[in-house]
Amino acid sequence: MSESIQLEYTVPGNDFTRAGEASADLKSTLKRLGLPAAEVRRIAIALYEGEINLAIHAGGGQIRVTVDDHQVEMILTDQGPGIPDIPKAMEEGYSTASAQVRSLGFGAGMGLPNMKRYTDEFDIQSTVGVGTTITMRVKIG
């Protein structure tokens, strides 16, 4: 791969049926590009968690993915409510998800920790009332 590849996705808010489509598409694209299966899985899981967060917490958002020879970078941006206490949000088991979201199988408080766990670099910037940007990178090879 001599040039980097850019992919962009829009995640609709509060549409639980469609959440995961972007991650599924990225996963099959990366497989097609011949990236190693273990890395593809880590990338897919991390993005899927992020995509679910965009759908359930942020009212939707944007995903921008850059694939080059050395890494896959995923930038997730939203104009949602923001996260008041990021260290708290990063704790395993802490969740602000509604009972309805929990009944759908999410809100275990593992989303952000899983995103950090599966990626080599993880950064989160958030301003209450403005939105959140998450940057994740996974090294290839």
Partner: protein, 116 residues
């Protein structure tokens, strides 16, 4: 263990008749919380869950899982079955509750995954 053996051990119904039942299952995970499932990487795993919505298939897809077992006698949603079939994943359902279903598979040698 094969998917076919999982079906027999759990006395389960098969909802995806076209899927290869001789595929090997190497590990298992039982949870209704999808992020808990996503926290443990497993190879060619089976997912046991009481959750009955499309995110079960999405989660299994991200994890490269080969089989979904819906426990507690629930009828899997048509959408789940269709999505899984499209991805070559098996969908089974059993009347057993979660604990008993997991226990039986464990007894027959299936184990959980590891934290990354």
């Amino acid at each position: 263990m094969t998917i076919s053996q999982v079906r027999d051990i759990l006395n389960a119904r098969l909802h995806t008749p076209d899927v290869d039942l001789e595929r090997q299952v190497h590990a298992a995970c039982g949870s209704d919380m999808m992020s808990d499932v996503l926290a443990y990487v497993k190879d060619q795993a089976v997912l046991l869950t009481g959750l009955n919505n499309p995110q079960v298939v999405r989660t299994a897809e991200m994890m490269d899982m080969v089989c979904i077992v819906v426990v507690r006698g629930k009828q899997p949603q048509e959408q789940i079955v269709a999505m899984a079939a499209q991805r070559g994943m098996a969908v089974l359902s059993t009347d057993l509750p979660m604990f008993s279903a997991c226990g039986l598979l464990y007894q027959h040698g299936l184990r959980g995954g590891e934290m990354p």
